[in-house]
Amino acid sequence: MMLALLPSALLVAGLSSTPNADPALPFATWKLKNGMQVILHEDHRVPLVAVDVWVHVGSGDEVPGKSGFAHLFEHMMFQGSEHVAEDRHFAVLREVGASTINGTTNFDRTNYFEVVPSNQLETALWLESDRVGTLLSHVNEESLKNQRDVVRNERRQRVDNVPYGTSRMALFAALYPEGHPFRYQVIGKHEDIEGASLQDVRAFFRTWYAPANVTLALAGDVDEATARALVDKWFGSLLSPPRPVKRPFPVVALAKNERLEVKDRFAKLVRLQWTWHGAAQYSADDPDLGVVGDALGAQGWGRLHRRLVVDEPLAQDVSAGPSGMNATGQFSVGVTLKPGVDPARVEAIVREELVRLLAEGPSADEVRRSVVDTETNLLFSLDDLLGRAEKLQSLNHYTGDAGGLSAYLARVRACTPESARAAARRWLAKPRVLVITVPEQAPPATPAPGPSGGAK
């Protein structure tokens, strides 16, 4: 049905295609005695290794009054541990030639990663195991105070001081009731960040940073015998407290449609965003909702993009699609309007296209284009070692099977107009939140058209 993605004869070290032309990610996986899981993908072409630590805790595991804490904690993991002095983590990695160093926090997981020359792998494992094992010997009031400031600056830079940042906060508050751990997004509330204490840091570490709650992925130029020996050396002797029990995220529903108008000091273009509660990442409906999102909002050929950006043209940009998390997700349609356009007109068009899609489903051509796009994006994401480590980690975290790539691709390719329509009906016929962002000060009127006729 689909265009052949890969030549069937393709065989390379590290990455391979199976006979039915899927990209495959060969890997080995094992567990240490203390419960820590290891995933290894070998590729010896370039002397680099991606070291990617996933801790299975995120902001969704926070308790009320502690919003933003999981992310603040991630910052503290870069502030030193028993044998690595304050601010040395980055410096050591930089000196050994790390080319990518960072950490990120989501609703359901936290990751820490670096890509290092393969002959320096042991230094990366030393650093990672020291903070996973001995963070609490080092944390102190001074560095916590500093990181509270840094994280609040991060919130300003991502939320408070940028166009549409306030609207996103308002959206989450409308989707998730007070007490739900997603309500204040990953970044959290200023007052909660400010209120985070050393005691919170200690308790969070003791609860969540057990080796049994950690998965280490290595991707690149290291053989399995070496990987097993080095990982066991640095992580094998860490204590093994019990694996923490995760509370399931509360699954919530909207009782009725919500409509919010948010004034924005920095956005100068009106934006409409519709958001539904959606399917979890890698869940049965996720690929079909991806197809639905593309059919509506794919750049260039999605129906809303075509109608609102190209044909009419009322909108500056359009986006649509699912964003899945563990156990739940969202589906959004966003439209940024050109200056002077009547939001009611755009609202009517979006409603019309949604009704049509729910009634008829996407066309076979739209399904095919969406699948080709997913296949192509996947291949490009596997070009770098960290991308491969992240893919293995993500499959492992969300599906429990790091080897789930082929099954995932098969599921994507099994999408049909009918399955996409059914998924759309299951999720998008429910109540949703519409956030309308309105510039606080209207932009100046558009000057008169120039010699070529100007805008229509």
Binding site: V115, N146, V151, A267, R369, V372
Partner: protein, 483 residues
Amino acid sequence: MTGPLLASLIALAAHSGEVDAPAVRAPAPDRTTQPAAGPERDVAQPPIRQFSFRGIKGYLVERPGLPLVQLELSWNVGGAGDAAGKEGMTSLCVDWLGEGSKRLDKNALENAKADLGARLGIGAGTEAASLSLAVVTTRLEPALALAAELLTEPGLRPADLERLRSQAKAAVVQARGNADGAAGRAWAAAFWGRSHPYGHVAEERTLDAVTAADCAGVHRQLAPEGAELLVVGDVTVEQLVPLLEKAFATWRGKAPARSRVGPPRGLKGAVFFVDIPGAEQSKVIVGHGGPSRDARDYAATTVMTQVFGQGLSSRLVQNLREKNGYTYGASASFGYRRSGSAFTAQSSIRTDATGKALREIHGELLGMTTTPPTDDELRRERDGGLRAFPARFATNAAVLRSVGELLSYRLPLDTWQRWPAELRAVDGAAAAKAVKDRLQPTQKVVVAGDRTKVLPELEALAKEGVFGKDGLVILDADGRPAK
């Protein structure tokens, strides 16, 4: 190639899903010292194969592996050449080419791209226009045909130009409204000057002034002779060139050579301010002019700049973020152009700390002179840079960047082969000399922030002459002195 593959497939079969424990538990290791490195594997720059067709100079780096090809076809055509009063012209006109061909209107073209899974685009920056394509190898041939069709049989439908024009105008409206966007526009005007080729600031009226005839002039320049093509991926020269010859069989014409660009001629003033009412952070840009990319002390300048302002360990970030908590991040670099460069240190600073942070940035710049890069800092940035060398060629995108840099700045194709030796030679004296030669004692400062909270501090800084004696100038978000 199949040996390691078979081995890894066998490993996969043997171990996937297995949960086992090491037979002998490892003793606790000595954590007090950093482990020793293993033996280093030498990595050479992958060979750059040259070819030519229809007057285009071609460069290919073969990367067998994933069946992907990425390419960039570039011309010496950019916004630097926009006529006064038509700022934004080149970008708008080049975008127009990406909207369709004679045969395919916008919607049909988008369908064709999506059917191929081809990431195909064309656009222009300040100094170069380029067509870029990323596609699965098996669909390279039809994707190249589509790319060629855009260039040789352009659609140029008036409705497409008007749509792009109104989008470009809306983007201007949006950019004026926030600290990041406004500071970038003000910096172009304050440092380069709005009439300088690198300082153009597009506005609604300049975009409205662009005509279809202007665009015809731009499009004539996007011709084969004088263009450069860089290709990276799972393809050989022997496979590639016949595909190119076939796709571009009817393409003719001469593209322009490079034009020289003079030194900056920015506005008189030391501190420039743009009001963003209610801003919770101020975007600050502190900088001055710099050398061109082919300067002999490029390696020393790079190391010195990294010590100053790149990464969490740098002096700038340690000060503004880790010591003072004024910001989430900061960075400094020389932004190279084909002629010259601009050194800038940039950050988004919590509004109430704007003045204090500017004093700290100034202090750290002075500190580079009084305390040049130390041995520890040099080891971190120089030796780290040497060890990180393989990452420059580890992905298609990285190769495109590394080799593209050589083409952009007309550097010899063996530049990366010589780079490790040049980097290794950066000692304390070389770094200190780069500080002395390349960091200037006075800077221009652009701040976009909340006037009621920030302006008094900036007035004090200007009065004291911290950043030079040319005073404070208030600009609008188009970089014009405010009335």
